[in-house]
Amino acid sequence: MNIINLNNVEFGYGKLKVLKNIDLTVEEGQFLSIIGPNGAGKSTLLKLINNIYENYDGEISIYGRDVRSYKRKELARIVSFVPQDTFLDFEFSIEELVFMGRYPFQKRFQNDQKYDYDISYRAMALTNTLEIKDRLVTQISGGERQRALIAKALAQDPKIILLDEPTSHLDINHQIEVLELLKELNKKQNLTIISVLHDLNLASRYSDKLVLLKDGQILKSGNVGEVLTASNIENAYNMRAIVELNKFTNSLFITPIEPKKRDKNASLPSIHLIAGGGSGQIIMSRLLKEGIDLSVGVLNVGDSDWQLAKSLKIEMVEEKPFSAIKEETSNRNLNLMKTKDIVVIAQVPIGHGNLLNLEMALTAINEGKKVVYLNEDSEKNIDYTNGTATKIMNDLISKGMIVFNSIDKLMDYIENYKSK
């Protein structure tokens, strides 16, 4: 039975969208783990399900009812939440902390009843915190604190328990201990568990279902075998990994190999960029992200675009620092330009030293190359040649140079280039 439904959920802080297009169903008694790289929106998703963040778009329902229609106490009787890194600065004993879990069931000034007592003690017994119940929460280890917090969540007698990285900062023995406990509760009491987990191997070993998030979207959800494939991991984490079956745990085991290399994307056109003085930095990073075969030139050694291109290992034609482009250099650049599909001109200030760059673009367009100019700030003067550069620019436009006023439009053009 589906007990949790998320339908086209979207959430963000202001313009920044943390989660978008989230569709998710969770069945009763499922052990679901949310995995994905840092900043993918894992914790946020958990908090949305618990109605801690209320101003989202879309629908979230628990047992068929909109979460926002629950009173806080009502919801707390169904769902409990174990947050990450709870900072407990006040000297409550573990027992006092666990008894707090009974809050949603109690009336004001009602003292703890036998029933509250039984449930809290059972929660402590299950989590092995009974023997340390009188210790102060400020004086226990990370593992003990995590178990105490789980005991508090269990004292809420929930049907669904949400955990945000319950194993972070724990030693490996405590990690396994906590997850074994959760699995046992999941199996024996049919407790539905949704947990954010960092460790893919633990997620694969204990979960029934996985949700892989990337950049606020569900990249893949389904059973462990469907989600934990080498290509999904590579996609989400930009890292190559080997996925194999661990015979001992009978679960998939992931071994990270190396960060993913930027593959040249053959379906996209190759590009030569004319830039300088920092005008090409955003263009370079966007083009490289798409895996485009990119070259730059001519750039003076030491120029800020030169530094970036150097560190990104982009193919480049360079000239000595602060000197005008020489004949020989421009020929090499022209040869490089000819091997590419498109010449992109950034909004680079043109002086006598780099005027040859523009003239090369003119040569290229005359030979039938596509030339594109990214004119993001039309107010900005780039002509420091008393009109020569403007004349060449107008010449280029009359010969069919395409002008874009934003990087996004340029990227659209490039992505649709081949299909045209």
Partner: protein
């Protein structure tokens, strides 16, 4: 069962503290000129209670002694109890709510608002008395409420109270009001000593009137705050955790802030700014009684009351007949004691 035992022990702590308070009330009322015994204080109190007074013999107490105790010292001691317990309860609530050990009842600008209000009344020589309250008291109360209102509205972002913004707004508005007060003081230098005395706080010469009108609102507010002790406990685990446990965090915060500032404004407008009590008594009570607000709130109310009436007794007898503003005594005696507690606690750990 063990939890019954614990509950009993908590109750016995509170009863024990009450008895201690009753003893100290008599002792501090008897201290001073006029040579009165502590037991006489009880007889005077009992003689004022209907029915019981038939069985109390006060023949050997002179009229002068009776008047000193009943008209001067007792109202002063009871006002001290009200002020001490209010400041302590407000301090405990704010420290828990804002999760900041530096919080005191004045953190949201109550004191500087009240001081500015009182200053305006003093320099304008508004001297009428209504319902037993002076115009200074009224002006101080209005000043306190205005400054808290400003701070609260700055601290509210998108209908949510941001703790840090609230604290910083309290500091900024407080400094601003204090600056205006200082300016007014410099311009009206004739009234300077009166203003300074007011800001240092005093319980002297107020009579029964403030006690009569303040006790019921103060007691009610304290009871309601104790009513919220479970929520205050859970809020210590963090706002998000508290939400997930079923606490309506925003509403609870608002209620506690409003009640705490009301409590503070009421007593400050009568007694002036008595520092230290609302900051240190909560810490002392927390060290002794633990963090559970259900016991911490009532205990710190009683401990605050005891501390207040003892320091007040010192303030009026130390260099008698000159009265030292009680705020000076609270800091002078409370500071070293608190440092001692902090150090001995460190050794324990």
């Amino acid at each position: 069962m063990e939890h019954n035992y614990r509950k009993k022990s908590k109750l016995s702590i509170i009863i024990g503290l009450m008895v201690l308070l009753a003893i100290i009330v008599a002792v501090v009322s008897a201290i001073g000129s006029a040579n009165i015994k502590a037991s006489d204080v009880y007889r005077i109190i009992l003689s004022k209670i209907p029915i019981i007074n038939k069985y109390v013999n006060i023949e050997n107490i002179t009229d002068a002694q009776f008047a000193i105790i009943w008209n001067v010292r007792l109202p002063r001691v009871i006002l001290g109890i009200l002020v001490g317990s209010s400041l302590s309860v407000a301090g405990v609530s704010f420290q828990g709510l804002l999760k900041n050990p530096m919080s005191d009842p004045y953190i949201l600008g109550v004191s500087s608002g009240a001081a500015l209000g009182a200053t305006i009344a003093i320099i304008n020589h508004l001297e009428y008395v209504k319902y037993g309250f002076s115009s200074i008291t009224f002006a101080a109360f209005i000043g306190a409420i205005i400054s808290v209102f400003i701070v609260y509205n700055i601290g509210r972002i998108n209908n949510k109270l941001s703790t840090n913004t609230l604290l910083l707004a309290g500091v900024a508005v407080g400094q601003f009001f204090t600056a205006i007060m200082s300016f007014l003081m410099v311009v009206n230098s004739n009234d300077m000593s009166k203003i300074i005395y007011w800001t240092m706080g005093s319980l002297s010469g107020k009579g029964w009137n403030p006690v009569k009108s303040l006790s019921i609102p103060i007691l009610l507010t304290i009871v309601v705050l104790i009513y919220y002790s479970k929520e205050l406990n859970i809020l210590l685990t963090g706002d998000e955790t508290a939400k997930s446990m079923g606490v309506n965090v925003e509403r609870t915060k608002r209620i506690i802030l409003v009640l705490g500032t009301l409590l503070t404004s009421l007593v400050v407008s009568v007694s002036g700014i008595i520092g230290f009590v609302g900051l240190i008594i909560p810490h002392i009570a927390r060290i002794i009684f633990g963090p559970d607000h259900k016991i911490l709130l009532p205990c710190s109310a009683i401990v605050g009351a005891i501390f207040m009436i003892i320091t007040d007794a010192i303030s009026r007898t130390l260099i008698s007949p000159v009265e030292i503003p009680v705020g000076i005594i609270t800091a002078m005696f409370g500071g070293p004691f608190f440092i001692y507690l902090l150090r001995s606690k460190k050794k324990m750990m």
